[in-house]
């Protein structure tokens, strides 16, 4: 049984009863689960220094440098590091990935993601979608081009479009927006993922998964979600990786790669040029 110490309260933990061979504990334990927050990187480093395996959700302003520090802390004590909040464990993404792994889609050619939110969370979930692209194509992108705009934000940008090119001709186009209006005070969201392969394609699309409500305000779309299966699957992966003494998905290195690409995208949007991967595995604009 793997015991998971909770560092800081979190609203999005799965039901403990759904976890295999794991339980939540107060106080000391062999593994730590760190919720997202301003101090989550430092909390993760502290837990690692105490010899605990670390599951950490990154803060919205996480940088590649801060994640490198976290990786080093874990390497120093030989503990496992998993970065939480990934969309790899969404049921739709898992289904697409299973089809890809089964060879049904052939070689991936194009990954297209639209992610629209209401919450102005700044740098929010960009790295997660970049991580999906790296994960689906199995490599870092060779080129990164991005444009940023302010659609509704008074300051800064609330729209980022990231265009990735992979070495064998594959490509990904990700558009991220935080400008959807809230509905009666509640945030709205929309997500669409298409993966086009050489012998098949997969479409995971909120547009397709909406239900219709007819009420006094007119027809509304209601999204039928997948509950908390993703958070359960994610934490279960952490537990299983510890038990099997292997790197978990998403590892610190995975998150680091995605953050480096994100930083390259922001640099590209700033300078208006293509950022390219160097032999030192860094991006230059």
């Amino acid at each position: 049984m793997i015991q998971l110490a909770l560092i800081k309260a979190s609203d999005d933990l799965p039901d403990e009863a759904r976890l295999r061979s794991a339980s939540f504990v107060e106080g000391d334990a062999g593994a730590a689960v760190v919720a997202a927050g301003a101090s989550s990187i430092q909390d993760g480093c502290d837990a690692a220094s105490q010899g605990k395996h670390v599951f950490v959700k990154l803060p919205g302003d996480a940088t590649s440098a801060s994640v490198e520090r976290l990786i080093e802390s874990c390497q120093d004590t030989g503990v496992r590091l998993m970065v939480g909040g990934s969309t790899r464990f969404d049921a739709s993404v898992q289904t697409v990935r299973q089809s890809l792994d089964a060879g049904q889609l052939g070689d991936p050619g194009l990954l297209r993601i639209h992610r629209w939110n209401s919450t102005a969370t700044g740098d929010d979930s960009t790295w997660q979608d970049i991580d999906l692209a790296i994960w689906m194509f199995g490599e870092l992108p060779a080129t990164v081009y991005a444009v940023a705009r302010s659609i509704a934000a008074a300051n800064g940008s609330d729209f980022l479009q990231i265009h990735l090119g992979f070495s064998a001709g594959g490509m990904a186009l990700i558009d991220l927006s935080n400008n959807l209006p809230a509905q009666d005070g509640d945030p709205q969201s929309y997500y669409s993922l298409s993966l086009i392969g050489s012998s098949g394609a997969a479409y995971a699309d909120d547009h397709h998964n909406q239900q219709l409500l007819f009420a006094s305000h007119g027809a509304q779309a209601l999204k039928t979600g997948a509950g908390d299966l993703a958070t359960t699957a994610e934490l279960q992966e952490f537990v299983d990786a510890i038990a099997a003494e292997r790197d978990p998905g998403v590892s610190g290195r995975d998150a680091l790669a995605a953050l480096q690409v994100r930083e390259a995208a922001l640099a590209s949007a700033e300078c208006g040029k293509v950022a390219r991967l160097t032999t030192e595995r860094r991006y230059e604009c």
């Binding site: 444009v147 705009r149 265009h163 558009d175």
Partner: protein, 369 residues
């Protein structure tokens, strides 16, 4: 210029060597009558065979002299549906003969040819319509939503335009020692199932063959031109595209006037990759909200025992695009207005495509010329 709203325009079908949806679309409107098929005499036999077949099917004469046909049959409109590399030359000749012009896509494989059409149309004061899909029900709906301000000011637009069609043998199927697939021969072969939009000597990728459709959506909904592009292109699906070094899959970042941004994903992705013609969607973001549009809707789904595997399960409804395009064209002629996709806008789209093709090859962002 006609002020008679009831006048029927006599039309010359100036070459109809590929799928005949353009002249058929023209004929769907009661104000347009196909009266002759015309072609240059020095074309290959397969061109004459197709022209003659179309003429016979419509019980109209076939004349192997374009200018003579225009004179002898008193036509007012030229309908150009030749190989792509001949589109502009035939359109210029029609305009110089005083004809209004309806032309199949793409406008041309060369931007310089488009400039000739723009000049000829303006000089001769005739109307020009590039065939397009802007009057599909979903596009009319999208335009209405944008014009009504439902999402505020439009700031970003994305179009996914995947045709789930095969185009000959799959990539990697050519055996060692086999010759590369000849583009024209492949396109002639594709005529049987209507997938010969790229017919011609010059190979064309999907950006050139089909790009005008989604770029016309973007042009109509934003009202602005594209200024810069960054593209990724590849031959991912079909051996013919590999052998002829043209893409069948492309992604394009679009930077437009008025600080509007967008993207285009386009490809001929194989018949197995969608149960119907393909996934075609628009995503629009404005200052007050977002809009997701499926181009296919409205549609009805039909399933039955022993249904052929390649038969589409969903059938589009209320397709009035042909009639509405020609009504728009008639209105333009009657009132000396521009059409929904005129020569200048078509030229701009062709320039965007050319820039995207260049960007895909160079790996750099390219300004649209």
């Amino acid at each position: 210029m006609s002020a008679n709203r009831n006048e029927v325009f006599r039309c010359a079908v100036v070459s109809v060597v590929k799928h005949a949806y353009v002249p058929n679309g023209v004929a769907s409107h009661p104000r347009f009558e196909l009266v002759v098929v015309a072609e240059d005499a020095d074309r290959p036999d397969w061109v004459h065979e197709r022209n003659q077949l179309y003429a016979d099917q419509h019980n109209i004469p076939y004349v192997r002299n374009v200018e003579q046909a225009i004179r002898d049959y008193n036509v007012q409109v030229g309908v150009v549906s030749s190989e792509a590399e001949r589109h502009c030359d035939l359109s210029v000749r029609c305009a110089d003969a005083g004809l209004h012009v309806v032309q199949d896509k793409p406008m041309s494989t060369e931007v310089s040819e488009c400039d000739r059409v723009v000049e000829a149309v303006q000089r001769n004061n005739v109307r020009f319509l590039m065939w397009n899909r802007n009057f599909l029900p979903a596009l009319i709906h999208a335009k209405q939503a944008v014009d009504d301000g439902l999402i505020g000011d439009l700031r970003a637009i994305h179009v996914d335009f995947y045709f789930a069609k095969d185009s000959g043998p799959p990539k990697g199927s050519r055996k060692e020692g086999d010759p590369p697939i000849n583009w024209l021969e492949r396109q002639i072969e594709a005529h049987a199932d209507g997938s010969d939009g790229g017919v011609g000597v010059e190979p064309m990728g999907e950006l050139k063959i089909e790009g005008i459709y989604p770029l016309a959506y973007i042009q109509m909904l934003t009202g602005v031109d594209v200024r810069r592009v960054f593209a990724r292109t590849t031959a991912h699906f079909h051996q013919a595209n590999v052998d002829n070094d043209v893409e069948d899959l492309a992604t394009v970042t679009l930077e437009m006037e008025n600080d509007i941004v967008g993207s285009l994903c386009i490809g001929r992705i194989g018949a197995a990759s969608h149960p119907d013609i393909g996934e075609i969607k628009l995503h629009l973001l404005g200052t007050k909200g977002g809009l997701v549009i499926s181009e296919a809707r409205p549609e009805v789904s039909i399933y039955y025992r022993d249904q052929p595997a390649k038969e589409f399960r969903s059938r589009r409804l209320a397709i009035d695009n042909d009639y509405l395009l020609m009504d728009n064209f008639a209105n333009a002629v009657d009132n000396a207005r521009e059409t929904i996709l005129d020569a200048i806008a078509s030229r701009a789209i062709t320039a965007t495509v050319a820039a995207a093709v260049e960007s895909g090859k160079s790996g750099e962002a390219v300004e649209v010329g």
